[in-house]
Symmetry: C2
Subunit: 145 residues, 2 copies
Amino acid sequence: MDQRVSLITLGVADLERARAFYEALGWSTHDAPEADVVFYQAVGMIVALWSREELAKDSGVEDRGGWGGVTLAYNVGAPAEVDAVIEEARAAGAVIPRTGAATFWGGYSGVFIDPDGHPWEVAHNPFWTLHEDGSVHRPLPPARS
Amino acid sequence: MDQRVSLITLGVADLERARAFYEALGWSTHDAPEADVVFYQAVGMIVALWSREELAKDSGVEDRGGWGGVTLAYNVGAPAEVDAVIEEARAAGAVIPRTGAATFWGGYSGVFIDPDGHPWEVAHNPFWTLHEDGSVHRPLPPARS
C-alpha cells in the first residue's frame, strides 16, 4: 500500500447545509445541486460530502455519533492567514473552539468545527514547506555524519 | 480557504501498535521510534498518528469514542489490486467488514478498519484518473453545448 490518501469523505447530516458551508469558504464543485454526494477536487486528492448514515453503512462501522478521532488540517503561509481563515469559517457558521495562537510545537494555529462536528486545524507550520500548488512537504532529516 | 487538505491526523490508543500496522502495509517515516507523533509524507500532504486523547483536546472536541463520520479511501488501478490491499491489511491485523466487490457507483471496492477503528475504503474507480505519482483527479464534466 503506497503512502497516500485518494479521498476523504466527511459524513454529514444535512448535505445542503454542509455544501453551503464549504462553498461559503470558497470551495467549488461541478456536482449538480441535487447530487446526493458532492466531490471537491483538492491537491492530488478529493474531499467528498455524503450522508453520514450512508457512509457508516458503506464503511462497515457502527455510528454512535460524535467525533471519531480524525482531525484535518489546512496549512497556510503565515500566522495572519490562520486568523483570516478562522474568521472566514466563523462567518460561514463554524464553531471556533480555539482562535489562532502559538502552539507547543512552535507553530501558530486555530481550530474551526464544521456544521457536522468535523474539526479543522488551520495552521502555520514554519518547519514544513507549503508549495505554490498547495502541496505540503516535510523536510527530510539532516543526514547523519 | 483553498480547496485542499494539508494533514490528516488519526487519533490512536496505542501509537506503537498503530505505527506497526501502517508500517506493515509498507509506510515509512523518518520519525524516531520514541516519537510521540508520527508523520507520513503522502502525495502533497501528510498523514499523522497521534494520541487520540491529545488530539481531542487539541481539536477542542469531546470524545465519546467510536467512529465519527470520516472515512478515507485509497484508490488503485484495478480490481485485483483492491483485493491485494485488503488481504495485505487483513494480514497486518485489520478488520475487514467487506471484501472487494462491485459497487453501486460502478467501481469495485472493499473496506479495512485499522486497529483504532479508522475505516479505509480501497477502491478502483474507473471514472477517476490515478496518476503515476499517486495523485487522483476527477475529470471535468463535458462542456454544455
